[in-house]
């Protein structure tokens, strides 16, 4: 039987009626994982043997994939970096532990941009991840393999991490749902830290309801993560049908206006914005009030450099323990400093080293005020202005990207408004820890596009509810890359 289009409800029904078994679902998923591994490369590790704990949970027996920066005891966890290529964790991340206890079946650990520090899906040590919709294009990152595994129908859900859009952007490029809950909603214990004040745990799925089901399983206070939130005692998957009539959404004026880019000959951008406005009309048809709202342009253009400064500075510190001494490839050297120097020189890719050097530059005493502290001030200014808007509005709705998944050899002007704002506004969700979800909203040039909805802190239930209603209206739920013919 072809399970690729099946959501969690369907699989639960099949399992409960004994029309399939967990082992059969695992074997099918494993077969698909191997089928697409050479063409798309979603996985670092494909699990060989079926393993499952018994459980009465709703996701008992459901197969899934896990980004390879989550610790899995006894199973290779590489963060897609050569400096971790042989690392086998001695403990489970809380996410993996909860999914095991819920009876979910791990199919594989997925490729990411090295150490989660990237947005293309091209920097993992086991190779690039291709976009299943068009193999000449990237799927984005850093949670590239997780996005691809869901887009291909290998698994109904996959776990990712999101520091500056690393779930929500590849979801957009892959034509699937990507949900980043409120900061701390899901424990980060056992997630390799990238930038601790920005890191979030979230998931991919093909429908909003499945994202709600998984978040219900994973959320809750964890004594091993002191930033984790106490459970809000809500069942998100049972709140999806709440009435959204009269709920107010806003988008950034000017930035989403095609007229603003009329001198650009970027056809893809103009088509994407046209589709965005069609989506806005559909939102109004189902009862949302949607306004265009001005937001300080200097803050919007500062989003990307603010993210780069904070994330590179925090990452440089977080990855200082990767030395090849207590774990990692042991390099040669006459003394301990030489061993660490050689391990780090060989173990990190050149791109990661460049990011770390930027982080070190930012943290030099003479630069801290002008760069790191000023970026942290801009973060507060953006969050303050967003919180003022959230006093009146229930959510921000925006195009998830200014276009479609780029080709691998495509360059972009990193100082243009399109790049600085439309490609990076999702970072706002990380600055303020807001719940934020990307859902497919159509196609441009046969490639998926998406919208993103970001809500108030701790209102994960409302963000999922609003996305569920919009998803139903738009009609792109449950799609598989390439459709029946697949890749």
């Amino acid at each position: 039987m072809d399970y690729r289009y099946s959501d969690i409800d369907t699989l639960r029904s099949l399992l409960s009626n004994n029309e399939t078994t967990p082992e059969s679902l695992f074997k099918e998923a494993k077969s698909l994982a191997h089928k697409y591994q050479s063409s798309i490369n979603p996985f670092v590790t494909i699990v060989d043997e079926y393993q499952k704990e018994s459980s009465n949970s709703y996701i008992d027996g459901i197969p899934y994939a896990l980004k390879d920066n989550f610790s899995t005891k006894g199973m290779l966890t590489t963060a897609s970096s050569n400096i971790m290529k042989d690392y086998v964790p001695v403990y489970d991340s809380t996410v993996y532990k909860k999914l095991k206890e819920a009876g979910a079946v791990l199919v594989g650990k997925t490729v990411l941009d090295e150490l989660a520090m990237g947005g293309t899906g091209t920097t993992g040590h086991t190779g690039i991840v291709k976009n299943p919709w068009d193999l000449s294009r990237m799927i984005g990152g850093s949670s590239a393999g997780s996005a691809a595994s869901v887009a291909l129908g290998i698994v109904p859900f996959a776990i990712g991490s999101d520091t500056g859009d690393s779930i929500r952007k590849p979801a957009a490029f892959g034509g699937v749902v990507g949900f980043k809950p409120t900061y701390g909603r899901i424990s980060r214990y056992g997630l390799f830290a990238f930038a601790s004040s920005l890191d979030h745990v979230g998931c991919f799925s093909r429908i909003v309801k499945d994202a709600a089901i998984i978040t219900d399983i994973l959320k809750g206070r964890d004594k091993y993560d002191m930033t984790s939130l106490s459970d809000d005692d809500k069942v998100y998957s049972e709140l999806l049908n709440n009435d959204i009539c009269g709920k107010k959404l806003f988008y950034f004026k000017d930035i989403c206006n095609p007229e603003y880019y009329k001198d650009s000959n970027d056809e893809i951008l103009l088509k994407t914005l046209e589709e965005f406005h069609n989506t806005i009309e559909k939102c109004r048809e189902i009862g949302f009030i949607v306004d265009e709202v001005p937001f300080k342009k200097d803050l919007l253009t500062a989003i990307y450099p603010t993210y780069m400064i904070i994330s590179c500075a925090e990452a440089t510190s977080n990855n200082a323990n990767l030395t090849g001494i207590q774990f990692g490839p042991r390099a040669e050297g006459d003394n301990i400093n030489d061993i660490m120097f050689n391990a780090r020189t060989r173990g990190f890719s050149e791109l990661i080293k460049r990011r770390f050097i930027l982080g070190s530059f930012i943290l030099q005493k003479e630069n801290q005020e002008k760069f790191f502290l000023n970026a942290s001030r801009v973060r507060r200014m953006i969050v303050d202005d967003m919180n003022k808007l959230f006093e009146e509005y229930d959510g921000l709705i925006m195009p998830a990207s200014g276009g479609i998944a780029p080709h691998f050899d495509e360059a972009s002007d990193r100082l243009s408004d399109r790049y600085l704002i439309l490609e990076n506004h999702l970072d706002i969700g990380n600055f303020g820890g807001y719940p934020s979800i990307t859902i497919p909203s159509g196609f441009v040039d046969n490639m998926p596009i998406a919208i993103n909805i970001t809500g108030r802190q701790k209102e994960d239930d409302w963000v999922l509810n609003m996305a569920y209603k919009i998803e139903a209206k738009l009609g792109f739920k449950g799609q598989i890359a390439g459709g029946e013919d697949n890749v």
């Binding site: 086998v88 001494i325 770390f356 050097i357 507060r380 303020g432």
Partner: protein
């Protein structure tokens, strides 16, 4: 002004090195990055604002009791170390 020598010194503090071609790439990246960073420094009244290092504005830091709980066994802790002697990671002599 950022020079190749300064970049090398930052790399050295981080205990790694790159080849010359990579330093050249990084120099040209710095050119773009510093122009982006200038967008931050142009924002009015920025110095009046308190830096934000955590996403929530109203977070209460709590402390827990320092209770002894189960932890990892020594052989688990050392599982990924390539060179070990008894319950220690082995490295070259520090003091000659």
């Amino acid at each position: 002004m950022v020079t190749k020598e300064k970049l090398k010194s930052y790399a050295s503090k981080l205990m790694f090195d790159m080849d010359d071609a990579e330093y050249e790439i990084l120099l040209s990246e710095f050119d773009v990055i510093l122009r982006q960073i200038e967008l931050i420094n142009k924002i009015d009244n920025i110095s009046d604002v308190k830096p934000m290092t955590f996403p929530f504005l109203d977070y209460e830091r709590e402390l827990r009791e320092d209770k002894i709980e189960e932890s990892l066994e020594i052989d688990e802790v050392l599982l990924n170390a390539k060179f070990k002697v008894n319950d220690q990671v082995k490295v070259p002599k520090v003091v000659e």
